[in-house]
């Protein structure tokens, strides 16, 4: 009986193993570059039954647009793109890389992470096609984020503009407020609103373990417009410390807005309520008129309650956060970057495709409600449907504009975490000098 038992178990095991080996995953139909509309995809080659995995923190509903934008590429080249979206991307990608299970491609939201990955020799250099596209379609400020030690390691994906102030057009029209074009005018407008008996600004920084990030954006904004891009870059790379004159001035200037009990926190409480309000709730008082202005990125359009019309004549719109004068146009913003961990030909083909204008326009077409822009100059702006997207694209592609990524996202994760935490303590009363010196100390452990 024991022998029969063993035999049966053996057969089951072998059958299982054989079946595993025999079955191949379906998908990946035969490529056909002669099919209609495949002309722009011919240069990526044709493949048979090849798969690439793309891992990111992008989940529904945005993920659906991405997946749809790849469909033509998939049918023309025969490569199947497995889109893996995970809200725990930030912690999981580190685990996957450390475990030798890295995806073929990954989309990172912070350029600082790419720098550390290149430093630990995990990502592979981008193929020539990607480098050519980056040089062709993106300004030098964008190229700097993917070029490390003279080599290009990836391409920018999307873009968002953070130098925006959200407001209620009807309120501005009724009260006769003019859109400010300099920082001084913005302050005057705020004082005017205070004089009329209302609180001009609202803000919220609660974001779980990232609590405090909007304050770092305020400081980055002030740093950029007051001291210019060159000093900004020095500060980001720790060539000038947080305790130097320029960053000190920037945080103090941000404090004139954020720590000002006359300005904050419209519809939400006093200055300390900034720390308790989640950043996704902070813009709501603009809609009810309890707050006049809210500084937030272009992605805020998707955060307002469903049904809010975002247009110059709608419920809410945004204006460009002004610089100190009208001569320069500093733009603080963000965006994702695509890097690869493999040099397989199909991975390189897909990577080249994603850095091209073909994909940028396919993505715009796949986002019928808007809410997606890129700094890729090959993007056809006329196809954008959402007024905020049009405004963002206009700002990003303005030849006068100087784009800089927000500072905290460029710094190493340890410094970024302290920057966030100290900003939270700062809004709750800690002095500017104590805040800056504690953040600077975290650079010492790098």
């Amino acid at each position: 009986m024991k022998k029969q038992f063993l035999l049966a178990a053996g057969i089951v095991a072998v059958a299982g193993l054989l079946l595993t080996g025999c079955s191949t995953t379906g998908g990946g139909s035969a490529a056909s570059t002669t099919a209609p509309g495949c002309a722009p995809y011919a240069k990526y080659g044709t493949f048979k039954n090849k798969k690439v995995t793309m891992y990111s923190g992008i989940v529904a509903p945005l993920a659906t647009s991405y997946i749809n934008s790849f469909k033509k590429f998939e049918s023309c080249t025969g490569i199947t793109v497995q889109f893996q979206g995970d809200t725990n991307f930030d912690s999981q990608i580190k685990v996957r890389i450390a475990g030798g299970n890295a995806p073929d491609l990954a989309v990172f939201a912070q350029p600082g992470q790419i720098k550390s990955l290149v430093g630990s020799k995990n990502v592979v250099q981008a193929p020539k096609g990607v480098a050519a596209n980056v040089n062709k379609f993106w300004s030098s400020s964008w190229k700097d984020y993917v070029e490390i030690n003279g080599k290009i390691y990836g391409s920018p994906v999307d873009a968002n503009v953070k130098s925006l102030v959200w407001y209620q057009p009807s309120r501005f029209k009724t009260a006769g407020y003019k859109i400010p074009t300099t920082l001084a005018q913005l302050k005057t407008l705020s004082d005017t609103i205070v004089a009329s008996g209302a609180k001009p600004w609202c803000e919220g920084i609660s974001a779980g373990s990232a609590t405090g990030w909007p304050i770092t954006d305020w400081m980055s904004q002030m740093m950029l417009i007051q001291s210019g891009p060159a000093t900004y870059d020095k500060w980001v790379n720790n060539q000038i410390p947080f305790t130097a004159t320029a960053p000190k001035k920037a945080l103090a200037e941000a404090g004139d807005f954020l720590k000002n009990s006359k300005y904050m926190n419209g519809g939400l409480g006093d200055v300390s309520s900034i720390a308790a309000t989640t950043w996704t709730d902070a813009g709501v008082p603009v809609l009810s008129g309890k707050c006049a202005m809210y500084k937030q990125g272009s992605f805020q359009a998707g955060i307002f309650p469903k049904g809010t019309t975002v247009s110059p004549t709608g419920d809410v719109y945004a204006f460009y956060f002004p610089g100190v004068n009208t001569k320069t146009k500093p733009v603080l913003g963000g965006g994702d970057f695509l890097v690869a961990f493999s040099k397989r030909p199909e991975v390189q083909a897909f990577q080249t495709f994603m850095s091209s204008d073909t994909w940028a326009n396919a993505m715009v077409a796949a986002s019928p409600d808007g809410g997606w822009v890129t700094a890729n100059t090959g993007m056809d702006n006329s196809k954008l449907t959402n007024p905020i997207d049009k405004l963002s694209a206009q700002i990003l592609q303005d030849p006068k504009s100087v784009f800089r990524y927000s500072a905290a996202d460029q710094m190493p994760p340890a410094v970024q975490a302290v920057f966030w935490a100290q900003s939270t303590k700062w809004i709750l009363g800690q002095s500017t000098s104590d805040t800056l010196s504690t953040i600077q100390k975290s650079w010492a452990t790098q």
Binding site: A8, A15, A207, L268, S273, A275
Partner: protein
């Protein structure tokens, strides 16, 4: 992966397991000699021991090694990480908070559970009353945290803005001004501990109620005949009889409290000086990427847990012997 290969892998895994068991049985049948039964015993626990070695012992040793290294170069730095954990002001706050959690939540939860169990014992609404207190245990820690996050919510007391948090609404009804409960240490840690107590009181009540019902009836009768009642009865008869169980309950809740992560992460994200060891460990390893400080915290947590576990097992044996 298509459905066929999923089934194939499942069959392969089942077949492999069956083969393993069959092989063990075969080998066991072949055992002879003086220490036959002992060898058979070793044989059968071999797979489990192997699993423990690979999944528990090896990672534990690796973590302990990492706590003596530094992340940038992987070289050994002795106790530098431990010194950081005990001197950095933010880390000291973490340790202080964890201590507060471990002292307050087991004691308060157990005392509440004990008193509640004593009062409802043999009363008319015993089952119903017990259900109410036990219900929070059915909710996940995260679910409970979200509920209480809304209870503590703050809205300014200005026209047209109503309160969304229950606590602030009660304060407003009594004529006070709403407070930002979760913003100011050390009170905000106490408010988080309340969530833990709310969840764990049910466990304490259930176990202690069973212990109370296990007290022999003749002891209680004899004490009553001697004139003891109410408080005297509780202090001199009830509590001493269930003392071992009470200690087990306290230590078990203390163990769970040392692991608390979800509550702190969901309600405040560890901000505003509410951070605790387990949450700090996660942040250090997965967000800051500082695996070595995280390893140090994990070792610290392990050292803190060991004495409680040993004491707990001892007390459990004592309670069973009774």
């Amino acid at each position: 992966m298509d459905i066929l290969s999923k089934f194939a892998i499942m069959l392969g895994a089942i077949g492999g397991l069956v083969l393993l068991v069959a092989m063990l049985l075969f080998l066991a049948g072949r055992m002879r000699g003086r220490s036959e039964s002992r060898n058979v015993g070793w044989l059968f626990i071999a797979p489990a021991v192997l699993g423990l070695l690979v999944a528990v012992i090896y990672p534990a040793l690796k973590t302990i090694t990492q706590s003596f290294q530094t992340s940038s170069t992987g070289s050994f730095v002795g106790v530098a990480n431990y010194i950081t954990v005990f001197t950095d002001p933010d880390q000291l706050v973490v340790l202080a908070n964890t201590a507060a959690w471990v002292i307050l939540s087991p004691l308060v939860a157990s005392v509440i559970g004990l008193l509640y169990a004593t009062f409802v014992d043999r009363s008319r609404f015993e089952a119903l009353a017990k259900t109410f207190v036990f219900l929070p245990m059915a909710i996940s820690f995260v679910g409970a945290s979200i509920i209480w996050k809304f209870v503590y919510d703050y809205r300014p007391n200005i026209a047209g803005v109503g309160q969304t948090g229950l606590l602030n609404q009660i304060v407003v009804w009594f004529g006070g001004t709403p407070q930002e409960w979760l913003l100011y240490p050390p009170l905000n840690t106490i408010f988080l501990i309340v969530i833990m107590i709310w969840i764990q009181a049910g466990f304490a009540m259930t176990v202690l109620s069973a212990a109370i019902k296990g007290i022999p009836a003749d002891i209680v009768e004899a004490a009553r005949m001697d004139g003891a009642s109410g408080f005297r009865l509780f202090m001199d008869v009830t509590f001493p009889s269930i003392r071992p169980t009470f200690i087990v309950v306290v230590t078990t809740i203390a163990l769970w409290t040392l692991k608390v992560f979800d509550i702190v992460r969901t309600v405040t994200g560890g901000q505003f000086d509410t951070n605790v060891l387990a949450n700090d460990f996660y942040t250090q390893v997965f967000q800051i990427g500082n695996t070595n400080v995280g390893a140090t915290l994990a070792v610290l947590l392990f050292i803190l847990v060991m004495p409680i576990v040993i004491y707990n097992v001892r007390q459990l044996r004592k309670a069973e012997a009774q």
